[in-house]
Subunit: 295 residues, 2 copies
Amino acid sequence: MKLNELGEDEVVRRLTRGLNLDRRVVVGPGDDCAVVKTAGDLQLLKTDCIIEGIHFRPNADPMWVGWKAMCRSISDVASMGGLPLDALVTVAIRSDAEFEWLKKLYRGLRKAASTYRVNLVGGETARSPGPVFLSVCLTGMVEKGKYVSRSGGKKGDWLFVTGRLGGSIDGKHLRFSPRVREARWLVGRFPIHAMMDLSDGLGSDLPRLASASGVGFEVALENLPLNKGCVPENAVRDGEDYELLFAVPRAVKSRLELEWKKAFPRLQLTPIGQLVDSGHHEFEQKGFDHFRGRA
Amino acid sequence: MKLNELGEDEVVRRLTRGLNLDRRVVVGPGDDCAVVKTAGDLQLLKTDCIIEGIHFRPNADPMWVGWKAMCRSISDVASMGGLPLDALVTVAIRSDAEFEWLKKLYRGLRKAASTYRVNLVGGETARSPGPVFLSVCLTGMVEKGKYVSRSGGKKGDWLFVTGRLGGSIDGKHLRFSPRVREARWLVGRFPIHAMMDLSDGLGSDLPRLASASGVGFEVALENLPLNKGCVPENAVRDGEDYELLFAVPRAVKSRLELEWKKAFPRLQLTPIGQLVDSGHHEFEQKGFDHFRGRA
């Protein structure tokens, strides 16, 4: 079987089936981060890579490529309710590449690290004849009572997204802001049942959250908060929004909306739909019913 | 400036100059692992990558490629006196690659993880048009009183290496055993001033330990423990031995040699030379004096 016949989720599922994990491991492969017990708090572990020609164009500004690489992992830590702490960076690059390019890349990595108070504690620069490969491994912490996985969503929960979706290829896919402060605020004040960051598009990510939680979903496409020039399908398919998607009990919906407006007056928060009975995966739109996500 | 004109050490030095690291960071970039304070113990963080065509041949047995990738990071954790804990694995590979190859790779990763009691808690499989890229990010722990960096060597210390050196390309570079048990035994019983694992060859690694410690060294080439068919130059230049190199005070030399023999009767431990005044970097051999390391 070839990898592209199986698809990434199935490849990972087959490779990690039946792993021996000791009791310190709270969440293993498959969520935004791994979660491991340490004395007191939980530790979050995440690694994420971006590759020239796939995640960024060869002529992209290396500063923003570095920013993106660091912020993608930070976004995953945020989506578990955590604070990012320490990062290791791996760059594989042709040995005849210009140092200036790498320096700009690191400027972006360092800018992101300092913006989100991450320690860049190490890493590696390796020679590679292939495309530039950039990987960031990040640790984080979250208090035991605050961590949020994808799997705690319940039937009847309201689904919210932060910010606006779609069209990230126009620039946001490089220059986004991971929602660390917002996620910490949420887990400190509300019973967040499930949360993840939107990296592959609502049409891929929401079915993952729903499946992990053992429920279905209903989303009204006309309610999706859209970036300028976008139609709902962009929100569903484009990906790389790096906004938070989360589920909260129906009872706290109004209080959440009210308090959010005071705390983050400049960042939209939108109820996009609800979690429903398992098996029901639906993006609803007039004249375009039963649009199914890619997953 | 091109990267190959600067060399890896200089590239890393320039990129990580003046990093803002908070007080939790005990050791930042440049040692075998980063060291970060957590409640109670210290946390070790390491990431290491291997690339097809550079660190392994395209026709190498994927099982041993996986073993190697995991064990390289484990070896670094061992060399700080630590215990490995949790690993994240990143594989970038062509999307038309055979799943069977990846499965064997994971068999090696998992075998190494289970041998050294490492939890494989997550990672990523990415499409890449380039050579196979395999990265392992590993956490570890070490008690505050036991961690050993490269920088604590003192003038007069004896230098020891475990096992035998040279000729790793014949197979040991894939099928080595990181010295976790031995390193833990050492840091639990002896005042180890400095330690590292030999990954680039004694001729590159010993000057790094000496420079980090602000001292020089004298090594008698005829005393080096050699693998079958090797001459001293192999021990100096070949690399990928993954044995421990460490410095201990002269006063404990005899007791260490005696107790080692009882604890590890099947693994050689060899005093290869001493740390001396700064600036004196010397591999001595009859008729072949002043052979300088590559660093």
